[in-house]
């Protein structure tokens, strides 16, 4: 049992690498899409707003597993070459969660008080300066708590990528370990869950740290826990 345990740990830690790659890659792509689409939704041109709407509703309206299978099995037929499973995973995780993130960015920018916009206008700032120097720094603080929830959702969704045979934690645990040590499957599954829990705690720590930095930048205190909880009412979906 004890040497099995160390074997389980080493196999699962091997799976940790692709899981972290998927999580970090997905988060980076999701952030890019969130800002691109979140700010694009405020565009003057209706065609840009339409593209944003189609992206957001399309990716939020369908199942993530369908998106993954679609990118992995169908898109190669259309473009003529196979996508590496890990990249298919990163693309789907990033684009799917980016659609939710776009709504977070849109909401946070809209929540910056009107006086701030007027003040920036009065100071004769260009639209770029206004966004970059006045609005976004304040909106960023609003965005961080919902982004925390979103990134943990993304981490949890990396387990889906095991279904296209990327050997991350879930695949290693189920298809390598449980297949060979079925007597210990309870222990193996519990270890997998604990690994995910640890990563999600790390994500939360990083975001809390960023919240403190952003708040200090604005000369404010970080958002209190009670107002964070009020956000739960908005739910996900």
């Amino acid at each position: 049992m004890s040497d099995n345990f160390s074997h389980f740990v080493s196999v699962l830690l091997n799976g940790l690498v692709p899981t972290v790659e998927l999580t970090v890659g997905g988060i980076v792509l999701a952030i890019v899409m969130s800002f691109l689409m979140g700010l694009g939704g405020r565009s003057r041109w209706w065609i840009v707003r339409l593209v944003v709407r189609i992206y957001v509703e399309g990716w939020r309206g369908t199942s993530e597993l369908v998106q993954l299978f679609w990118i992995y099995f169908v898109v190669p037929l259309l473009i003529g070459f196979q996508i590496v499973p890990l990249w298919a995973g990163i693309i789907v995780l990033g684009l799917n969660h980016g659609a939710y993130g776009a709504e977070i960015v849109r909401g946070a920018v809209a929540s910056v008080p009107k006086e701030q916009w007027e003040g920036a206008l009065a100071l004769n700032l260009t639209p770029y300066q206004r966004m970059r120097r006045v609005i976004l720094p304040q909106a960023l603080l609003e965005m961080l708590p919902p982004f925390n929830t979103l990134f943990i959702q993304l981490l949890k969704a990396t387990s889906l990528v095991s279904l296209i045979n990327v050997s991350e934690i879930t695949y290693d645990g189920k298809d390598i370990l449980i297949a060979n040590y079925s007597a210990d499957k309870g222990l193996i599954l519990f270890m997998m869950l604990v690994l995910y829990l640890i990563i999600s705690v790390v994500i939360t720590w990083i975001i809390r740290f960023l919240e403190r930095v952003t708040a200090a930048h604005l000369g404010r205190r970080p958002i209190s826990r009670s107002s964070r909880r009020a956000g739960a009412l908005e739910g996900m979906g």
Binding site: A157, T170, G186, S200, M236, G237
Partner: protein, 219 residues
């Protein structure tokens, strides 16, 4: 393999996809009912501050919320028989999504209950209402309508997560798409139509929830 779109094939596979969709909807409805009830229980236990029990529920909720549904499904599927519970695939699915989403809805209920003004509690105390009556007649009737949109959103997310159940042997919409795909060596139409069916059902629902949100905010 022919990669162009074949409407004839679409027509041929539609009955099976729709059959899968019915199962998807069934799991979503049953899972939602479980999540709504269990979530309220979790929220009440946590708010009631019963020593040990409240902390245990807190720990459970945080653990389940932070780990993937897929692994939890494997856990139920593989481990329930080991402790002597024989669950059909359907029950594994309903319990899996129901318990997972109950941890989300418990946070929603908690926010809703904490949002009821403190004066309501004080008035109930002043009227000398028994504790059960305070919850049933004063607090919950005010908290529940406010949380309905969030609960609706979670049902929509659950609907989109039910395809995970194909891993524990429930042949729902995506499971059907996978099967017809492998029988015919054509995946373009099955997976595309599965996506379209999800969109057709979830988009109107999310518009309805948004409308409900606006109505709740006004009152």
């Amino acid at each position: 393999m022919n990669s162009t779109w074949d409407w004839g094939f679409v027509a041929q596979i539609m009955p099976r996809l729709l059959q899968g969709l019915v199962l998807t909807v069934e799991v979503t409805v049953l899972g939602s009912i479980l999540a709504y009830i269990l979530g309220l229980v979790f929220a009440l236990v946590r708010l009631s501050r019963i020593p040990v029990l409240s902390q245990a529920v807190w720990l459970f909720v945080e653990f389940v919320r932070s780990t993937p549904l897929l692994v939890q499904l494997y856990f139920l599927y593989f481990e329930a028989p080991a402790i002597g519970i024989r669950l059909s695939s359907m029950l594994v699915g309903v319990f899996g999504v129901g318990i997972h989403y109950a941890t989300y809805t418990s946070e929603v209920y908690r926010a809703g209950i904490e949002g009821v003004p403190i004066g309501q509690w004080e008035a109930a105390t002043a009227l000398n209402l028994p504790r059960g009556r305070v919850w049933r007649s004063v607090i919950l009737p005010q908290a529940i309508p406010r949380v309905l949109p969030a609960l609706g959103n979670y049902t929509i997310s659950m609907f989109k997560e039910t395809p995970l159940l194909l891993t524990v042997g429930i042949v729902e919409l995506v499971g059907q798409a996978q099967q017809v795909g492998s029988e015919n060596y054509r995946y373009t139409e099955p997976y595309t139509m599965a996506g379209v069916l999800f969109l057709i059902l979830s988009y109107p629902c999310s518009i309805a929830v948004r409308r409900l949100e606006r109505r709740v905010r006004k009152t």
